[in-house]
Amino acid sequence: MKFLKSKSLFGVAIAVLALVAPFIHAADITLLNVSYDPTREFYKEYNQAFAKHWKELKGDTVTVRQSHGGSGAQARSVIDGLDADVVTLALAYDVDAIAEKAHAIDPNWQKRFTHNSAPYTSTIVFLVRKGNPKGIKDWDDLAKSDVKVITPNPKTSGGARWNHLAAWGYGLEKYGSEDKAREFVSKIYANVPVLDSGARGATNTFVQRGLGDVLIAWENEAILSINELGRDKFDIVVPSISILAEPSVSIVDKNVAKKGTKEVATAYLQYLYSKEGQRIAAKNYYRPTDPEIVKESESTFPKLKLFSIDALFNGWGEAQKKHFADGGEFDKIFASIKR
């Protein structure tokens, strides 16, 4: 009986092998993309596109698992051992932290893909209540004493750091000195009634709780909020100057080496620069970098003057240290605001 059983099992195995043999070189690959909150829908769509592309190219089946959360918290998970193949985070600083604290990413990661390893970009705009009752047009209006501004806490929210630096950059450009910029940003923070810990929380405070006259937000988040909540309730105001927000992508060298997924992980990120990847990004309201797709999506993204963090703040490392570290500009501003 036993003999019979093992013999029949053997037979089945042979049969299966014969059936599968022509496809035996095709592998099942699973990647883990550790990203931040608002990219959920974007990557859901992109992962399918990439899987199809890779299947056609190599015949392998790629399944990409997604993990979303606050950008900083996500970086911490990777530092603490989450086996991400790629990270697609809100700011370069978070990727730097993984490189520095866990030595899991090559320190020169930003040079590995074009545009500072930021395949798509965004910027900081204002969401105001329908009809713009306070007449907000530019950053200066946020510093007026009768305007209530909603922005998350830059200490806990990566997105809010872009908001802070965008305001600071405007202050620098317009008023010409660091001191004047500090004074300007202080005035804006003095108008902030609630500092939520994350960007979605701040959106909630503004949209659901009806607090504040203006929400400083990522452009893609602002467009999404309007689409979801109705164009009859909110307007987007695009300031004259804002920051070029560059969400960063990198493969996690340590993990892809261990898992043998370097080739496909690299291709996964590279494909973000392809026409299809760029189109999906634009569809999800991230500004594309490919000139052709930029032209295609001109109507979605109004033109404005954008400054980069490298140009004005000498990169994330310095910006972080100067503005957001304990005792930095943000702390100084709040220590000086009398409430």
Binding site: G70, G72, A73, A75, R76, I79, A97, K101, N153, K155, T156, P193, V194, L195, D196, S197, G201, N204, Q208, R209, G210, L211, F324, A325, D326, G327, D331, F334, A335, R339
Partner: protein, 266 residues
């Protein structure tokens, strides 16, 4: 009693694995800092402000819960009324509800456009997005601790004592303050301590209802999260250690008072 050796051994191992080792790790991690670095983290004005808020708000909330929890427990234990079972079950709700959900719900109700907030707003009272909001959240999550520790004691309280006291000519207040209250004291203190300790560590329900303003309405757990978001693990553990030690000292004192009051009442 049989089985003492086995159960004690199990208890000690279990407590060591689940409590002592993680907390020991926290202390050990803090030793990466020199005393002056530790002092700099702890004595930072922003951190000090958050300690003040966390301990102050937790204390206020625990006192509020002590008083109103006693009334709720008394009502549930002594009287029968329509819907008592439902009220009794509702008391446990803050235990079971995810704290973040509680925070969002409280913020929605107390915000200026919320059910309660819209009535308070014209009176110039702001609960959501202020320190008062922190206290409200802490009262909410702390209530069951007092009710559930005091209720069984009231239920088991011998009515004869009250009857004796009344028949000897004591007023209602004298009976309550001299006879009933002392025997409830240990349970009340336990409830108070639990409610207070729970409030100190609370995070989820507060961050949605507090405005999280530095120096004004930032709680200690938020400071810890803030430090973690800057990858400042050591700073975060330093603040955590202070919390741990402070809580330990407070619980120690409350326990001492409890033992004292129990001996006195016997």
């Amino acid at each position: 009693m049989p089985g003492f050796g086995l159960t004690l051994g199990f208890s000690l191992t279990y407590v060591t694995l689940l409590v002592l080792i993680p907390l020991g790790g926290l202390l050990l991690y803090t030793t990466k800092l020199s005393w002056s670095e530790f002092g700099a983290v702890i004595l930072d004005p922003r951190v000090l402000a958050s300690f003040k808020l966390s301990f102050g708000a937790s204390l206020i909330a625990a006192v509020v819960n002590l008083f109103f929890g006693l009334i709720v427990a008394w009502t549930l234990a002594r009287y029968n009324f329509f819907g008592k079972k439902i009220v009794d079950a509702l008391v446990d709700l803050p235990f079971a509800l995810p704290t973040a959900v509680a925070g969002i719900a409280l913020a929605a109700i107390f915000a200026q456009n919320g059910w309660i907030g819209s009535f308070l707003e014209p009176l110039g009272i702001q609960i959501a997005y202020s320190r008062a909001g922190v206290v409200v959240a802490l009262v909410f999550i702390g209530l069951p601790f007092v009710v559930r520790t005091v209720q069984p004691v009231i239920e088991e309280f011998e009515k004869e004592f009250e009857e004796v006291s009344t028949s000897l000519g004591a007023s209602w207040w004298q009976t309550f303050s001299r006879v009933i209250l002392p025997s409830l004291m240990p349970a009340l203190l336990t409830g108070f301590a639990l409610s207070f300790a729970r409030a100190l560590g609370e995070y989820g329900s507060i961050i949605f209802i507090s405005s999280n303003m530095p120096f004004v309405s930032e709680i200690v757990p938020l400071i810890i999260v803030t430090k973690l978001s800057q990858f400042d693990y050591v700073g975060a553990t330093a603040v955590g250690t202070v919390m741990l030690l402070a809580t330990f000292v407070i619980l120690f004192f409350i326990n001492a008072i409890q033992i004292y009051s129990r001996e006195k009442s016997l």
